[in-house]
Symmetry: C2
Subunit: 297 residues, 2 copies
């Protein structure tokens, strides 16, 4: 392991380490207006939701590491108390990149990015027509985190209206493949959060699972089964008994397992369980591994 004391490395390097570790980050594509009504649009990835009741989102417009200046978005929110946070889908990624350019203050990033401003319902800044979802927000508080280049501000906002493109919603839940969001990584990297990159993890937090420590010793120490395989087994709420094993395994499979068990062919047994896990048959995998303790004479 590399161990780093944040006080002993340049801010630029520390910044990049944080960006590389705290990822992928959601993007707040923030629309604001100045006191004259001139719109501004800029992406920020020090951003997240933090509460649903009340609905609170927080983002930071940081002091620039290069010259310790602050940004138009921050000035505008300090003046007007309002912001619209738009989501960034893959379809507008390159237009978002153009809006990140430091154009002079009087230039509208809407014109420069070719994105379309649409009047909001409750706040002055417009939302982005092409964005799959927008949140009209009222600033509650700004907390300043430092005075030097790289220092952040927590811009704490309450969501007062949400707009969602009906094409990205199934029932009353958002479909990640349809909303097709981009997340921010370190350096010039982004992640497209749809398609094969999406994984589903079903794990009830209320049903108490057996846990790794209750798996048989030789399973815990397996050189065949990975941490994820063991996690799936540990996530079961019950280790199979005789009855469950008979329900999960065919007579032929039981014969095969009995023979492997007799030969003490542990790796082969574990590979057999691993194949069941790959097919999503976790209870079957557990039954293969629980066979010996239930059926050996």
């Amino acid at each position: 392991m590399i161990s780093i004391d944040p006080k002993n490395i340049p801010t630029k390097d520390l910044h990049q380490y944080l960006l590389g570790i705290v990822a992928p980050r959601p993007i707040a594509f923030a629309s604001t207006v100045d006191e004259n009504g001139t719109p501004n649009l800029a992406p920020y990835s020090f951003f997240n939701a933090f509460s649903s009741n009340p609905p609170i989102v927080v983002f930071s417009s940081n002091r620039r590491v290069s010259d310790n200046t602050t940004k138009d978005t921050l000035h505008n929110i300090e003046k007007t108390g309002e912001v619209v946070i738009n989501a960034v889908s893959h379809s507008i990624l390159r237009q978002m990149a153009v809006a990140s350019v430091q154009f002079p203050k009087e230039i509208s990033e809407f014109s420069k990015s070719g994105l379309t401003p649409v009047d909001s319902d409750l706040v002055k800044p417009p939302r982005v027509l092409e964005s799959p979802a927008s949140m009209e927000c009222v600033m509650k508080e700004i907390i300043t985190l430092g005075k030097h280049g790289g220092a952040g501000h927590l811009i704490i906002c309450e969501v007062v209206r949400i707009h969602i493109d009906e094409r990205v919603v199934d029932g009353n839940r958002i479909n990640p493949h349809k909303i097709d969001l981009m997340g921010r990584m370190g350096r010039a990297y982004y992640v497209r959060a749809s398609g094969d990159a999406i994984h589903t993890v079903v794990q009830s937090v209320l049903d108490i699972s057996i846990g790794f420590d209750q798996l048989p010793q030789e399973v815990q120490k397996s050189t065949v089964l990975t941490g994820n395989d063991l996690g799936l087994l540990a996530g079961l709420t019950q280790w199979p008994n005789k009855e469950e094993i008979e329900a999960q395994l065919s007579p032929e499979e039981r014969l095969q397992i009995a023979s492997l068990t007799e030969d003490r062919a542990l790796p082969q047994l574990h590979y057999m369980a691993k194949n069941a896990i790959r097919e999503g048959l976790i209870k079957k995998a557990a039954s293969i591994l629980a066979f010996q303790e239930n059926f050996s004479k």
Copy 2:
């Protein structure tokens, strides 16, 4: 568009909309100890970095929507003021899921998930050996965002020590493919932020780009070029002049374009530019589109 007044829908639905829009979210796999030293380990995705100087990360342990109770992690940080935030790579995803189960307080999620506690340098909670990066943190402040189920707490932490597995670092920058982080989406969805899902966007924020409004009218209105195509063109710092066009296009290509231009075959010209964009040749694409204004008689 679906428009939602957050005050007029059930917290559960509002919570899911926020989770679906504000995504992908980084995961804070938070290790804490109670006043007796009993360790706790739990994942939170209302989490991000917010400042690099000082290095500040913030996460929220929310009041449960179901029964308005608060969580062990929050109690432990209130008591001890310390937390280690571990990154979640794909390799420990299922073990993280087991740690998310609401085991009784006296049960260690380290034992249940099979993850290995390692002593920290500066704080009492252990870090996770199998995590590719860990941040030892000292709590600076906790801001309570509400009193009802779903209400968050901003747990504002300063990073005092960072540990990174040297295998995920190239030079002094983290490689997203090697750290292989998981991000949290809505419902049971996660995103794996590596491999083909990673996109690179190079856009200098300091060099002023020409912008969408300076593209030729017929390019702005193209039915062939997408928002991303136009964003790439708008992101150039200069629209090609005669000299640049001659450098970008072969004599054969110039003949072909001249003929398409003469025929007013705009879609075909735009498809030719689109192919250049697909090959990453943005200046060439712009040269195809700028040909007419520079060379037509």
